[in-house]
């Protein structure tokens, strides 16, 4: 287990090499370093994980050095590994490696190949720091590093100003959440006096009774940070725009790892949340609301990546729901399976997009299933897991969430009902995406760019999407001492039957609506009301409009008003005075000898007069 430090060190080394060589390395070397560093890191993580599971201990901490020490306050750089961190490390390095491998093929033709992998490696490093950090300060360092990399990668195609706008939007919107998070950390430090995660949770349990205001405030502030990073309502608007980045970036950052940081944060700080029913309920409601809004929005999108982006939001909504009802291990379980199938969906859609020369509009695709068999079957498997068809990985994790929610004491049946209804919507928009993209008449002729380094990760992820459910049970058992994941089928419970049946119903209904001609949806879509609702959903329920009206446009107006910067006038006045004095003095420097002599004698006379008077 002493090799733990190597896990984050390898991607950092990869980043440094690629950064220092400034893109002068040949492409093969860049690919080897970029993907290899993460691959090796995954291998080391595997060894560490096996050793850790074998040792039977619940946690392992590795002190590296002291980051800073001021008086009695010191922040050690300590890596902390427990089962939660292990799952996260496994997902980040494992899925991360597969995505890196895929990206070596996907990005081959693009400018800035080396820059891309440098950012990706830095991202993996920051994310590992986030999940392995022993203190909240270290976690925050990784948190911000992840935000930085997301900015760099969303704006990777920087020649188009729209991408730069998307990158800035992601950065600024998540910054709102980050501010809340750091306020929460300040408050926690002031009250408890430590930023060490385990100590602060233990301290909070001692210091506060159940449901104390201070504890709730801290929990809600941390939730604010999580909401920003995980793209939940009301800070979700950056995620769809973040699809401006290359598809592997969308897979790595905006599906598999970074957006789950919020889920990790809440799961990590569960001790704080368990003390406050209000905060727990808020988490659940945030999850449920996001789940709903995102599902309906996904139903009317035309860009295939935006459909997946909104489905990511809704799936993370499930995780928040699980956290809110105290199903910690179910949330992390769904985080893991979601990483598998969402990475698969993104990468497969990336293959489709690449084969159509970067066409992302689903309505220009169609009939691709014969021509692109590997992406089609991978998309089909990923979709099956996404809608939670029985026995796929998504089925087990979503089932665990829904069943725990139904047993929850806080409005359990309401949460369950909402989540099941959203599961129906999930099936519906997934069917719509699959049918429009892969069936019907062919509108564009694809060229198949399949390379081994691109379809191999797809196959591995497809296998994990199907079988990943069983992988979860072994690691996640007793993860949080809440009875673990209720695996398997619960055939005696009517709620379980309903939970299982709804996605199937959704798929059947989706097939009926989108694939057969029996249902005329034109009439509904093209009526005035249908159009209005569709447009409203298309814009993501008008959140962008609200923020533009309330925040962005007033700010722009103020910025335009203050174009010349009022504060600058003070400094400009100083420089003006200096300039006038300079002009006055430079008049005297006219090169005329007699003028100089005159001033000399005048000065002499002046001095004499002064002496005489004194």
């Amino acid at each position: 287990m002493s090799m733990l430090w190597i896990v984050p060190a390898l991607p950092l080394a990869g980043f440094l090499i690629l950064f220092v060589t400034e893109g002068k390395l040949p492409k093969m070397a860049v690919a080897a370093i970029g993907a290899g560093s993460v691959g090796l890191s995954a291998l080391v993580a595997l060894f560490v994980g096996i050793e850790f599971m074998g040792s039977g201990s619940t946690s392992y901490a590795q002190d590296l050095w002291t980051w800073m020490a001021v008086g009695e306050f010191s922040v050690p750089v300590t890596l902390y590994l427990d089962r939660l961190a292990l799952v996260m490390v496994g997902v980040i390095t494992g899925v991360g490696f597969l995505i890196h491998l895929y990206a070596t093929g996907y990005m081959w033709e693009e400018e800035g190949y080396s820059r891309f992998f440098a950012y990706m490696n830095l991202f993996v490093f920051a994310m590992l720091l986030l999940v392995l950090g022993d203190s909240l300060l270290l976690l925050f360092l990784g948190w911000e590093g992840v935000g930085l990399c997301s900015y760099l990668l969303i704006g990777f195609f920087h020649t188009d100003p729209a991408n730069g706008y998307a990158a800035r939007k992601a950065f600024v919107v998540t910054r709102v959440g980050d501010t809340l998070l750091i306020l929460g950390l300040f408050l926690l430090f002031r009250e408890i006096g430590t930023l060490d995660i385990q100590e602060s949770i233990a301290g909070a349990k001692e210091a506060w009774p159940n449901g104390s205001t201070m504890n709730t405030a801290i929990a809600l502030l941390l939730l604010g940070g999580a909401v920003g990073k995980s793209a939940q309502v009301p800070l979700q608007t950056w995620l769809p725009d973040a699809m401006a980045g290359p598809t592997p970036v969308s897979a790595l950052i905006h599906a598999a790892t970074m957006v789950t940081a919020g889920v990790y944060l809440i799961a990590r700080m569960q001790g704080i949340y368990l003390l406050s029913d209000t905060a727990m309920l808020c988490v659940a409601i945030v999850g449920l609301v996001t789940l709903f809004i995102a599902s309906f929005t996904a139903l009317v999108q035309s860009d295939i990546k935006r459909v997946l982006a909104f489905s990511t939001m809704s799936q993370i909504g499930y995780m928040f729901l699980a956290l809110g009802v105290g199903a910690w291990s179910a949330a992390i379980f769904h985080l893991m399976t979601h990483a598998f199938f969402k990475a698969l969906l993104f990468l497969a859609s990336g293959s489709v997009i690449l084969s159509l020369h970067h066409e992302q509009d689903m309505f220009k695709m169609g009939g691709l299933w014969r021509k692109l068999p590997i992406p089609f079957w991978c998309m089909a498997i990923g979709s099956a897991a996404l809608v939670a068809l029985p026995l796929t990985s998504g089925f087990f994790s979503k089932d665990a969430i829904l069943l725990t929610a139904s047993h929850s004491e806080n409005y359990g049946m309401w949460l369950w009902g909402g989540a099941v209804a959203a599961a129906f919507m999930t099936s519906l928009y997934t069917m719509r995406m699959m049918v429009i993209t892969f069936f019907g008449e062919t509108k564009m002729e694809p060229h198949d760019p399949s390379k081994a380094n691109m379809w191999l990760p797809l196959l591995v992820l497809a296998a994990l999407s199907i079988g990943g459910g069983w992988l979860g049970f072994s690691v996640l058992e007793e993860l949080f001492h809440d009875g673990g994941v209720h695996g398997g089928l619960h055939l005696d419970d009517p709620i379980a039957w309903a939970t299982m049946a709804v996605p199937l119903l959704g798929v059947a209904f989706g097939y009926f609506v989108f694939a057969t001609k029996a249902f005329d949806r034109r009439g509904m879509v093209e009526s005035a009301a249908g159009k209005a609702v569709g447009k409203y959903w298309f814009t993501g329920w008008g959140f962008d409009w609200i923020y533009d009206t309330l925040v962005v446009n007033p700010f722009r107006w103020l910025a335009r008003l203050n174009k010349n910067d009022a504060v600058d006038y003070i400094f400009r006045f100083t420089s003006l005075v200096a300039r006038i004095l300079h002009n006055l003095l430079s008049i005297t420097q006219n090169g005329r000898l007699r003028w100089y002599a005159l001033t000399m004698f005048a000065g002499l006379l002046f001095a004499l007069v002064v002496v005489a008077i004194i």
Binding site: S586, T588, Q589, G591, R592, L593, R594, A597, L598, F601
Partner: protein, 105 residues
């Protein structure tokens, strides 16, 4: 203690001051280089006169020594200054000192 000729010390000093002021005014109002040099000579001799008078007033030889120095200085200055005058008249075809103010300081 008066000088042998019986001229009061103050009168000599007044003469030196008048001579010096004549030199100053000459420098300030004359544009011709030659006249400026003449004015400088007048000023230097005014200084020399003041030294001589002071040396006589207090019976010290230092005043006369200083006048020797001033003479040497004037000779050297004239040698250099005349060279400059020749250059000036060659370059600008005039002896007007303001013609050489091209660099404006």
């Amino acid at each position: 203690m008066d000088v042998p000729l019986g001229i009061p010390f103050e009168h000599v000093i007044y003469l030196a001051i008048i001579l010096f002021l004549i030199g100053v005014v000459g420098i300030l109002i004359r544009r011709n280089v030659i006249f400026i040099l003449l004015s400088l000579e007048v000023m230097m001799n005014a200084c020399g006169l003041a030294f001589i008078a002071a040396g006589a007033r207090w019976g010290e030889a230092d005043g006369q020594v200083m006048f020797m120095f001033i003479l040497a200085l004037a000779a050297a200055e004239v040698a250099v200054a005349l060279g400059l005058v020749v250059q000036l008249s060659r370059r600008f075809r005039t002896l007007d000192i303001d013609a050489a103010s091209e660099m404006t300081g």
